[in-house]
Symmetry: C2
Subunit: 348 residues, 2 copies
DNA sequence: ATTAGCACTTGAATATGAGGAGTGCTAAAG
DNA sequence: CTTTAGCACTCCTCATATTCAAGTGCTAAT
């Protein structure tokens, strides 16, 4: 990689190649660039520039006599460039879009399940890429109420409602016969002491109590506290995925192998959650292009992700998975809009 | 379609063609059939038979000089034939398989979610086709307990636990301020009166009560009963789908269009539920081949379905979707085994 | 530094032909 | 009347050759 300080014209050529390839996934020739993007130099000049860009690692030639195709590096440059030139700032049109979207989502506010289904579906619909959403990790949300319901034998169903109205349930084993009455007072205890606290905080506090009880007091109470502890443990976060069919329509996935890759990765929720772990909560929009992705399964795709919040507390992430030659401008604006809209809906 | 009374030899040839095509999706020739399936006549004879079978609508020739391919009608004949010849009866091997499977599933009995996920996944794994399961319709299961939890304003979260330990929740609007205490006594009322009854029964009974109250008594009570009524209404049943990736590996889906069809149909839960509606609850195994399917979206696939029960009460259906040239023998045995295993697991 | 001109490369599309699998028909055999 | 052997015929597949156009890289002139 030589020096990478590109002059303005070179940048324009690079962007033109990227945009052309985004529009139509075919190797881009110099003459085409010149004419389509109105350059006032002849094709040979463009050719020289493109040759330089290839040396610098931005373009790639499938074979000697073909046009050129952008590399991951080119996409990265392109994305940075449009950010820098403010080509993705909020227009009034976007504001209106967010407005409408928010209205639509607010109607579903009381049912998180439908809300996120709708959000990922319409994000996918709008972009034709794959829409993802990570639901608020239960551990991070505040407890609204807990109930313990006696089931069979020593089995207890713990029902946890958080401040978003999301209900989670878990079957736990008490390891000793326990009456519904006892369970009720146990629930009362938790509700009185912990309502409004996040599950994470509660579990931490419970841990301390368990230690104390173990040292000084009743083994039974310790056992019960342990049960609470277990009831509040959720290993998996919920991920919504929409638009597999949409993504199949893209020419990029006319090759079945790529499709298999996608199917495999979205089948494995683990992987998806791992993906979200790599997305920082403070950035507004994060763009991960191909090889940049720490998770190797996603290295043939690009990902646009944006966190949504409730007031200032980050809750989850909404994201888009598409081919590396995705329409970044549109995608970034839309993901951003959806995140903003979710934030508004949830902050109310 | 001429007369369809086939002599035994003709049937054997037909089955041979079907089995050959199932094994390898290539047009089947007369000489191949003769040698591979040990017929003691020469290829010309087989040729004549195959020609007859084509006239009768069982076989189809892609072009003049090619071998022959089974039609839907041939698959139907084949399936009926193997049923009739008892080629899918329970061997001791299968009994053992069910035994093991049941053990595996019983460990997950307390968590329906994992149970059905595991069931569809391993069904798909074993067959390489798409595994489906329709979860017990909540309406048909018995109520274990209901809880009403005050959320915000006039919003109430209804948490319904059924006798399978499945927890469903729903946010409903009370349309008037209501305290948690009132909600508690309401829940008590429902629990005392309705525990063990199926949701359907409860709703019916509530309906009668509402009418009575409306005519003679308190409007408020009527309102509350209506709320219960609403809380117990679940529009959609849960469907589990596993193995999209597996199905992609089949040569039948190397054509991307077929794949799109599958993706589209499984994306639309509605359609899946509609599929299950066509499966009778008393048959042991139902095989639907291609065009036979009343739902047009499934007409390029075959479906093997079997209901599972709790004791004698039918709960849901487990099914397999695969290409028309699927290995019916294996598939039928396995679906049957899975249904039996689920029945045992749930009947305990 | 840019441009015009041109030879050269390469893949995609098209045509050509050999090879082979499989059929259908006919006439003879059982 | 059924079965079989023999053979001409059909049509697909695969490999090879040919053409075509797009696009490059280089050189020499501007």
């Amino acid at each position: 990689m030589k020096d990478t300080i590109l002059d303005e014209r070179t940048k324009r050529v690079l962007c033109a190649v990227v945009e052309s390839y985004i529009e139509k996934p075919e190797p881009v020739g110099s003459r085409y660039i010149m004419k389509k993007y109105g350059f006032d130099v002849c094709s040979a000049t463009i050719r020289n520039i493109m040759s330089d860009l290839e040396d610098a690692g931005f373009l790639f030639q499938p074979h000697t006599s073909a046009g050129r195709v952008p590399t991951d590096r080119a996409y990265r440059f392109y994305v940075d460039y449009i950010f820098q030139k403010n080509l993705i700032s909020q227009t009034s049109e976007i504001k209106k879009f967010i407005e409408n979207l928010t209205k639509k989502l607010k109607r579903l506010r009381n049912n998180m399940d439908s809300l996120f289904l709708e959000a990922t579906q319409s994000l996918s619909q709008a972009t034709k890429y794959l829409g993802l959403a990570l639901l608020p990790a239960t551990e991070k949300t505040a407890l609204h109420r807990v109930d313990f319901i006696k089931f069979k034998d020593d089995l207890v169903i713990a029902v946890i409602v958080n401040d978003k109205g999301i209900v989670k349930s878990k079957i736990i084993r008490a390891y000793h016969e326990i009456t519904q009455k006892e369970l009720n007072s146990l629930a009362d205890f938790v509700n009185k002491n912990y309502q409004g606290k996040t599950i994470d905080e509660i579990r931490e506090d419970l841990l301390i109590r368990i230690k104390q009880e173990k040292l000084f007091w009743d083994k039974l109470i310790s056992k019960i506290l342990k049960m609470c502890q277990e009831a509040l443990y959720f290993s998996k976060e919920d991920v919504y995925v929409s638009g597999l069919y949409n993504i199949m329509q893209l020419p990029d996935f006319s090759d079945i192998e790529k499709l298999k890759e996608v199917a495999k990765t979205i089948q494995d929720r683990h992987l998806l959650i791992k993906l979200f772990e790599n997305i920082s909560e403070d950035e507004e929009v994060k763009v991960i292009i191909g090889q940049e992705n720490p998770i190797k399964e996603f290295r043939s795709f690009s990902i646009i992700a944006s966190p949504y919040k409730e007031k200032d507390r980050s809750l989850g992430v909404i994201a888009l998975v598409g081919p590396k030659r995705m329409d970044y401008q549109k995608a970034i604006i839309l993901v951003n809009a959806f995140a903003k809209s979710l934030t508004r809906t949830l902050s109310d």
